[in-house]
């Protein structure tokens, strides 16, 4: 997958981040290629979420350079990251329970049609496009159903469909399988496969070893703010990754 001829969609060079005296990230280099699923692992406080937040534009890094699609980029707000094609599926999914699936998918970028001087919501077009996206993800989700009444898997589908709206090139998923049932985990992993098929790069932040080994092409291990390992899944084992996370093994 990661051949030299393909340009990485995301390229981090020497990324570091300090919060006052605390060094949260130090000298992280990372490439992510189109259609690749990268697992990002590490214990609490290892710097995973800081790295994700830097990439998602929650705050700029203190050092280093970020390139997206070959261009140097700087993000100050999440909207900046979204504008170039980085989408984040948050751990709590960031859905509004009281709205329909279609409304959630289009929240913040509603489709409108003009009637005279007024711009009114185009409910039909949004429902149709949402249904199409759910179809691509092969999720049995009705656009007009309230998110409140949905299963964990359907909610994931809604959150992921949102990232497909803008044809994002990189989707970061923060613990997508943390709080759902076994069957729904299968569905979510299926959704990640769908994204991969469509050439989208996925970064999966997870604590669950089986999930990472089931869908990822490559695993990146963080420890104490540094990248300790970056290996193709085929060349490693859950035991080795566990050792890297806990520090039993320093680097690989």
């Amino acid at each position: 997958m990661a051949s030299a001829s393909v340009q990485p969609v995301l390229e981090l060079t020497g990324i570091g981040k300090e919060f006052g005296a605390i060094r949260a990230l130090h000298d992280v280099d990372l490439q992510v290629y189109p259609g690749e699923v990268v697992g990002l692992m590490g214990d609490n406080g290892a710097g995973k979420s800081t790295l994700v937040k830097v990439i998602a534009g929650n705050f700029p890094p203190s050092h280093g350079e970020m390139r997206f699609d070959g261009n140097a980029v700087q993000f100050y707000r999440p909207v900046d990251a979204r504008a170039v094609g980085i989408e984040v599926v948050y751990q709590d999914l960031a859905l509004s329970d009281n709205l329909t699936a279609a409304a959630n998918v289009f929240l913040g970028r509603e489709l409108k049609r003009r009637i005279g001087p007024f711009a009114l919501l185009d409910h039909k077009a949004m429902a149709a496009r949402a249904l199409e996206l759910f179809g691509e993800l092969r999720s049995e989700t009705r656009p007009d159903d309230l998110v409140k009444q949905m299963s964990g898997g359907q909610r994931q589908a809604v959150a992921i469909a949102r990232t497909r709206l803008s044809n994002a090139k990189l989707v970061m998923m923060d613990e997508p399988t943390a709080a759902i049932s076994v069957r729904q985990v299968e569905q979510v992993l299926g959704l990640i496969h769908r994204l991969k098929e469509q050439g989208v790069a996925v970064m999966l932040i997870s604590h669950r070893m089986p999930d990472v080994f089931a869908v990822c092409d490559r695993v990146v291990v963080m420890r104490r703010g540094e990248k300790r390992a970056d290996k193709p899944i085929a060349d490693t084992s859950p035991e080795e990754v566990t050792a890297l996370i806990t520090g039993a093994k320093e680097a690989a």
Binding site: P78, V79, R82, V88, Y90, D92, L93, A94, L95, S96, D97, N98, L99, A103, L107, G108, R109, E110, K112, F118, A119, L120, L121, H123, L131, E132, F134, G135, E136, R138, S139, E140, T141, R142, D145, Q149, Q154, R162, R164, N167, Q198
Partner: protein, 360 residues
């Protein structure tokens, strides 16, 4: 990315919710509307006067006196906020409107020469442009409401103060300002445009009371805004999950400020209308009306936790309160029971909804 769909979505595992378990039919508003209809039938048998034209006009007028403010506060409640300053706002807007109207109609007052002059007899005051004083005074009444709404919104959305505390403070501030500007005496709309003012606020059009007419128009606009515009969608999103709304790029601060401004403007307009009906704006006008307004919204199905509510519910809540009040009077029940009953109904309405959502 227009990919061909390998397989169209099938819904083999996911049933469709029956129509009566969705949308309006599954809301508290629907149950309360039903209760209202039952109550109307009971009233019809309880008192022969209830369905007379005069009484119906009376009911329509009376509930319109809090319903416009209820529409406004419903916006705030949907976002998960609360506005306790509506009662004071009603009074203050009414007061400013009538004071401005009186001042502009008094030759010799600063600025009045632009609006009025004395007739040849030296006593009668004549407007330079009929209606201009009315428009100016109503706009100044709404103008102070706009400012109060902006201050509420700024404190809550930008400074992050709690809506309850902010608007509780504003309740007191605005009421106090009302006493200050009027010296506690209240004021009366007067001058050459007062007739227009009374006709537009407490008159009627083809037998329909004007306040009721305004209410219907505003409710229709509100329904369209809530369900067919981006703003309305964001109002609901804010009440459902504020953090999610922010992460998805909704302009949370702006929407919040806007709902408090809408609420203050609705209250201001309501106050101006009440002032026309009373013929004055006393300094203690609409005291504790905020509780009636919020009660009506909640009875009608607006959820104080945010995310649910609408114009129909707001109106149904107001009608229910007024029919009970009116009914108790007609049935010659001691009118002191009214408050007690209203309280029981607030709790019942919310209780029925809770039981229903547990059963589904």
């Amino acid at each position: 990315m227009a990919l061909p769909m390998e397989s169209p979505v099938t819904f083999s595992n996911v049933g469709k919710t029956a129509w009566w378990q969705r949308g309006v039919f599954a809301s508290q508003t629907a149950y309360v509307t039903l209760a209202l209809l039952v109550l109307l039938v009971i009233m019809h048998f309880a008192s022969p006067y209830f369905f007379t034209e005069g009484n119906m006009q009376n009911v329509a007028k009376n509930f319109s006196f809090i319903a416009i403010a209820t529409l406004g506060v419903t916006f705030v409640i949907i976002t998960g906020g609360i506005d306790l300053s509506v009662g004071s706002m009603m009074c203050f807007s009414a007061m400013i409107t009538s004071m401005v109207m009186t001042a502009l109609s008094t030759p010799g007052m600063p600025g009045a020469s632009l609006f009025v002059h004395l007739a040849a007899d030296g006593k009668t005051v004549v407007a330079n442009v009929p209606g201009l004083i009315l428009v100016t005074s109503v706009l100044s009444g709404l103008g102070v409401a706009l400012i109060v709404g902006l201050v509420n919104g700024f404190c809550i959305a930008v400074l992050g103060l709690s809506p309850f505390v902010t608007t509780l403070g504003m309740l007191s501030i605005v009421r106090g300002l009302g006493y200050v500007v009027s010296n506690g005496r209240g004021s009366f709309p007067g001058g050459p445009d007062a007739d227009y003012f009374y006709r537009l606020t407490s008159g009627d059009l083809l037998g329909v009371p004007m306040p009721f007419l305004y209410l219907v128009i505003l409710a229709l606009i509100m329904a369209v805004v809530l369900h067919h515009t981006t703003f309305g969608r964001h109002v609901f999103a804010l009440g459902g999950n504020e953090k999610a709304a922010e992460l998805t790029g909704v302009a949370v601060v702006r929407v919040k400020i806007e709902v408090y401004v809408i609420c203050a403007l609705a209250a201001g307009l309501q106050g101006i209308i009440i002032c026309g009906w009373l013929g004055s704006a006393p300094a203690n006008m609409a005291t504790s009306y905020e509780l009636n307004v919020i009660a009506a919204a909640v009875i009608g199905g607006a959820n104080l936790a945010g995310g649910i509510g609408g114009p129909l519910g707001a109106i149904v809540g107001c009608v229910l309160l007024e029919v009970i009040r009116n009914g108790l009077v007609l049935a010659q029940v001691n009118s002191y029971w009214q408050q007690t009953l209203v309280g029981v109904i607030i709790i019942l309405a919310v209780l029925v909804d809770r039981v229903r959502s547990r059963m589904l």
